[in-house]
Assembly symmetry: C2
Amino acid sequence: MTSPDSPSSIVGTAPGLPKTARGERTRTRILKAAEETFGTLGYHRAGIADITRAAGVASGTFYTYFSSKEQTLRELVQEMGRRLRAHLERETADAGDRLEAEEKGLRAFLQYLRDNPALYRVLQEAQFVDESIYRRYYESFGERYVRMLARATDRGEIRSGNDEVRVWALMGISNFIGLRYALWETEMDFDDIVATVSDLLRNGLAAGGGREKS
Amino acid sequence: MTSPDSPSSIVGTAPGLPKTARGERTRTRILKAAEETFGTLGYHRAGIADITRAAGVASGTFYTYFSSKEQTLRELVQEMGRRLRAHLERETADAGDRLEAEEKGLRAFLQYLRDNPALYRVLQEAQFVDESIYRRYYESFGERYVRMLARATDRGEIRSGNDEVRVWALMGISNFIGLRYALWETEMDFDDIVATVSDLLRNGLAAGGGREKS
DNA sequence: TTGAAACCTGAATCAGTATTCATGTTACGG
DNA sequence: CCGTAACATGAATACTGATTCAGGTTTCAA
């Protein structure tokens, strides 16, 4: 665990952060329970009672730490986003070039999503509860991504082009591939998937477009 | 209670289809109102009262034609999917090859989404109301798509590869590009977007991977 | 023209559930 | 050891909103 984030950055923070070790523990339990419950039941079907039951506390305790169900979702989206980014950065740190980083990134994303299926549901549902948090998530993700592509272009690893559009295309690929192969049908080998996408990114689809396989 | 029709094909069809011209008109008005209301307010925030108000009928009339709010969403997803597919088929019919069809298809999709923003919201929210309808939507879309890629491979237009994975990547691209550039920020020229994606599909990203621009 | 089926009405019902609050219980600095 | 702030409880509150229903109105085939 890293040190707790400064509360000043978060806008609508709850009724005050916990002041004792016990409170800290309880708050964490509730947040984890919310993640699981939203992840399996979905935001709307999940009741506060479901969350508190999963956390092993009374329903009123929820409001000691969170101002509302919606606020909890917001906090969850931010935290899950941070965790995913940290994971991806760790897993792509040793890539030799951008296209290798794309491969490692996609594989890491698939693995992460399979291990944390709640991420997908919480994030996608947040879109319709509070669109701004969803936009912020992808736009901040996209900004970093654009910078990485620009650097890769400078290094001569990829052709120059409209990197913003490319980034949204890339995020779309990960998203859909993840939904299909990490959440719905998990039997296909990640290696095959990554190889196919990598080939698409390196060479495109056109016949004779890139170097041949062998 | 009159003996209800027992339609064998469709499972949860409404309380019986309209039997007069007036009924037909009213049902259509309600369905259109539901599309608009779900599209702007979202499924959960939209009440039956909102829908019937928009349709100009009493709230009870809703249940003359639809068995539930959820059932209405299901019907809407199917109908909107049919309309989109018809549109895309029309717009890509005259493409000379697969990669040209991809260009025309993406442009047509963006245009359609900008003109029918409710499509996105209704479809994405349906995912969390009844996942099966959502899966069916993309899987049936995907199956046709795979067949088209296979045919294009036979014709030598694209390299052979794992077309299923490719199709999910392609659907992801359209989806995200559409969200960003047809719904959120509509000022970028579709031509730029299509050109960028087309270049990605034809040549990939790798430096020197494809034919140079000039 | 007529009567039965189809259609329309909107107030009432009814269940679910986020949030509050009055009342205990626990932690811990002094 | 206290005393007090922090924490925990769960029944009660307050409200929303989908669905029903008992009765009126319109349509249309005969």
